[in-house]
Amino acid sequence: METEAPDTRSLLDQARAGDAEAFGGICRLHGSRLLRQACALCGDLTLAEDLAQDTLVEAWRCLQRYDGRCQFFTWLCAILLNRYRNVRRKNRPWPGAAFGGGEQDGLGQPTVVDHAAQPDDAVESSEQAALVRQCIKTLPAKHQQVIYLRFYVDDSLEGIAAALGCSVGTVKSRLFHALEKLRKMNALNAQLGDSTKKEVGL
């Protein structure tokens, strides 16, 4: 059983009893953090706002399904991931559209990035973040979930297992395979050169 903050716990109890005001309090408590997670997930603030709002509405609809075995916020993030996957699936471009190339936004649609408006460091870090997001997106959904919940939501393996409704062993195994796949991606390992060789003593 995960320890939930007392204020969240009491609000959750009231919300489960049908108190919409209490759920509004939960939204106030977790709204900003959820929005930050959504933004990290898709890289687009407008889309992130929609995702976070829809996640909270979805959470209200199926609040009875939350059994308290994981942090409420992790449970919210699991909903967020599912919603994001649905949005991406709905907006997935036809294969012919992929020939356009260029950078893509959170929905996989091409976007124009104004690099001139940003300092060099910021440009580089945003490009790296976009690259990492692209690499994660190529993973199977179950692998994306564990990577996101472990590395960005920073929850424990037990909490992730409870949020996803699977065992800790399954979470470990998915994390292992997800990291293996990421390791084999050339795009992600492009800068793994001399620094690694020095590190391992070659």
């Binding site: 609809r61 690259l131 293996e180 391992v200």
Partner: protein, 191 residues
């Protein structure tokens, strides 16, 4: 040099901080002697470092309009909860184009085949040449040709009686005699 297969999960465990003290000690001892595993651990560490490139921006705060929109959506969800649930269900179940396109193509192909399939020839009246199925049930032709059977059939239906008589007439009618050169001789034979 490849990493030892038995130690790869241990190394991922180290990265995820899920090893107990004994496992960590064993792995450290192994890494001192195994170059392949050292490289593997470095690569995995690099991957997790790269994952950190996606940063959670602490400056992002949910605005008042964000909370207003949430409240609006919650009210809307409450107002048409049944309709909303149904809509969400249908939207959620709507097939993706990767499924929908082949299904539509298959249905279109079936439609084309049905339309282009050669139809049986029609007679002048526009009706199919195939024999029409009669709605009147056939009478039992095995009935013995007795008055009682005819009365019973007539009590059921006059049409059945008519059909029965027709059938029995066809069955009972003897083949017409064929007149050959031998036929006149029959008349000369003694009774």
């Amino acid at each position: 040099m490849k990493p030892c297969a038995a130690n790869r999960k241990l190394m991922v465990g180290q990265i995820l901080n899920t090893l107990d003290a004994q496992e960590a000690r064993q792995l450290r001892a192994h890494l001192e002697t195994c170059e392949g595993c050292r490289r593997y651990l470095a690569e995995m560490s690099h991957v997790t470092e790269r994952l950190a490139a996606v940063k959670i921006n602490p400056d992002i705060q949910a605005s008042e309009s964000f909370h207003r929109n949430v409240a609006q959506k919650l009210r809307a969800a409450k107002r048409d909860s049944l309709g909303g649930i149904l809509r969400a269900y249908i939207q959620g179940r709507a097939p993706h184009w990767r499924v929908a396109v082949p299904v539509v193509a298959a249905l279109a192909l079936i439609g084309v085949i049905l339309v282009a399939w050669p139809q049986p020839p029609k007679n002048a009246a526009g009706r199919s040449a195939a024999p029409a199925v009669t709605l009147v049930s056939r009478p039992d032709n095995d009935l013995a040709p007795t008055i009682a059977n005819y009365q019973r059939t007539a009590n059921q239906s006059l049409e059945k009686l008519d059909a029965l008589l027709t059938c029995q007439n066809k069955q009972a009618s003897p083949a017409l005699p064929s007149y050959t050169a031998a036929t006149p001789r029959l008349a000369n034979e003694p009774f």
